[in-house]
Amino acid sequence: MPEGFISNLYVFVLAGFLGFEVIRRVSPLLHTPLMALTNALDAIVVVAAIIIAGRKGTALSEILGAIAVAAAFSNMVGGFLITDRMLRMFKLSGRKKQ
């Protein structure tokens, strides 16, 4: 088995449980921003893409890497942007304050 497989499995199991616990608590009010935000967070694959694109490799790997960087980074930028835009719209009524 490749290096780190078991520790990756631990991490996967724990993060899966954690995601389940945390996301179950997200208010249904915010399910649309939730989808946008998890998209932006998932775009962290850009860090792997940067290395593929920039390290010594074949022309193919550089091109594929650059495609991955562009695709992932557009998700990161767009995802955070739209999440924040949506959340800015949620306001309390004048009377109540939290």
Binding site: F12, R25, N39, V45, V46, S74
Partner: protein, 470 residues
């Protein structure tokens, strides 16, 4: 050589710590999304986490060229900003597009890793890479088709033919077969591109037959596939930050899909292979003459103005008509008159989870006035008027009463228990589920026929006119 090694290893610790901090920030980000009061802080902390991870990566001593990276990042910004600025009504297709991008990024990295590693690739690595590339590729094309349907570039209706499921699964079988060939002979080179192409085709075949209205569930499922792809990529590259982010993203999509299916009282299998909305055997046999009461904007305005408590139940029609700003005007006018107005939000009203909340928030309706289905039902007996704006299935009482109905068992907002019910829609036509709604024929129900935006606008004019006149 030795200095590079040193350089590499101390850099390695730096990245490791930076990535762990990023992950902790990501988790906090999702935790803070649990309530609107802390949600923006959540986005901020997520951005900081992502920035830390990206910036640290730039100092990786393995990087020998930056030109392509910078150009690609620039392209990412150029695509990303418009994708972040779309109209709220375009959010479903935007979400589908971002799944496509996410899947694309993960899939091409997997492909590139394959070509970097052959011929020295273990069986185990080959399994990981193949699974990653198969799921990534099918999610890519599947998401594109979903986006196309939601944008109405592709036909929304389910497109099915006989034996379709068999054909689809044969195609998937081919992809898996290629994987097995590759595991034992990783260098039988054309099998790899074949596997990729077959997976791309399978993604198209998976989503095309599903009706446009089922796309939200499909998108949530694709979301979980994209997360799974990122996590698998983390296994391939031994990058735990990807494993965690992928697992979080994947569980999010999965939970949303489960919530939607539960709220529709349907199973995953039924959504994916049921071609819902296609063969509606509507029980139109016993077509009796049913009486429908209607009302004009003036009458509706009078009834609303006289009420103490009003529950507005918005649905897909409000989104289609872009009526949310007019609805906000109605809310303001009634509130000024001392009427207590609340909004009852069904979990699957509209065409994506949280759809109504976002639209109403966009129109500046305060979110503490948006109440969930169960609370709305609890207050129904004290509700003078339930005003349904472009909703249909989510208030269909046959979900409670008619065992034969395709939506039987789906939880609904029980507006029929309010004193007076008014329904704004253009006709008696069915909604997403394609079934008749007995609510329309109840004695305490008034139909307000017309486009949601203009009808609500007329009510507001009447109410304000009356106020000015008085």
């Amino acid at each position: 050589m030795n200095t590079t090694m040193m350089h590499l290893s101390s850099y390695q610790y730096l990245t490791d710590f930076a990535y762990i901090i990023a992950i902790a920030f990501f988790i906090l980000s999702l935790k803070w999304l649990s309530s609107p009061a802390t949600a923006r802080r959540g986005v901020f902390v997520g951005e900081v986490g992502a920035a830390i991870a990206v910036v640290t990566t730039f100092f990786n001593p393995e990087l020998v060229q930056f030109k392509w990276i910078l150009i690609a990042l620039l392209i990412g910004v150029i695509i990303g900003i418009p994708l972040g600025l779309v109209q709220m009504t375009a959010v479903p297709q935007r979400t589908a597009m971002s799944h496509a991008f996410g899947a694309l990024a993960a899939a091409v990295i997997g492909i590139s890793e394959y070509y970097m590693r052959i011929p020295h690739i273990t069986k185990f690595e080959m399994v990981e890479i193949s699974l990653e590339v198969i799921i990534g590729s099918l999610s890519f094309t599947g998401s594109l088709i979903a986006a196309g349907k939601l944008q109405e570039w592709l036909p929304q209706r389910p497109m099915v033919y006989k034996g379709q499921n068999y054909v689809s699964f044969t195609v998937l079988g081919l992809a898996v077969a290629s994987m097995f060939v590759l595991i034992f002979n990783p260098t039988t080179a054309w099998f790899f591109p074949a596997m990729v192409i077959i997976s791309l085709i399978f993604g198209i075949m998976l989503v095309t037959p599903i009706g446009g209205a089922d796309m939200p569930t499909v998108i949530a499922l694709l979301n979980s596939y994209v997360g799974l792809t990122a996590a698998l990529l983390g296994f391939v590259l031994n990058q735990k930050v990807l494993v965690v982010a992928g697992a979080l993203d994947g569980s999010s999509g999965f939970i949303l899909a489960v919530i939607m299916c539960k709220a529709m009282n349907r199973s995953f299998t039924n959504v994916l292979f049921g071609a819902f909305g296609q063969l509606q055997v509507s029980a139109k046999g016993e077509e009796e003459e049913k009486i429908v009461h209607t009302a004009s904007p003036e009458e509706a305005a009078a009834i609303l103005g006289a009420a103490n408590t009003v529950l507005v139940v918005p649905g897909y029609g409000m989104a289609v008509a872009q009526a949310q700003h007019k609805v906000k005007e109605l809310y303001d006018t009634l509130t000024k008159k001392g009427v207590d107005v609340k909004f009852g939000i069904h979990p699957v009203a509209g065409r994506m989870p949280g759809h109504m909340n976002v639209l109403l928030a966009e129109a500046d309706v305060p979110y503490d006035k948006l109440i969930e289905m169960d609370d709305a039902n609890g207050e129904m007996a004290q509700t003078d008027v339930a005003l349904i704006i472009g909703a249909n299935d989510v208030v269909n009482p046959s979900a409670k009463t008619d065992q034969g109905s395709p939506i039987y068992g789906m939880p609904i907002i029980e507006v029929n228990n309010a004193r007076t019910v008014m329904v704004i829609k253009r006709s008696l036509n069915p909604g997403f589920a394609g079934i008749d709604n007995p609510l329309f024929y109840l004695d305490n129900n008034l139909m307000l026929f017309g486009d949601a935006k203009s009808f609500v606008g007329n009510i507001v004019r009447e109410l304000s006119g009356a106020a000015v006149g008085a």
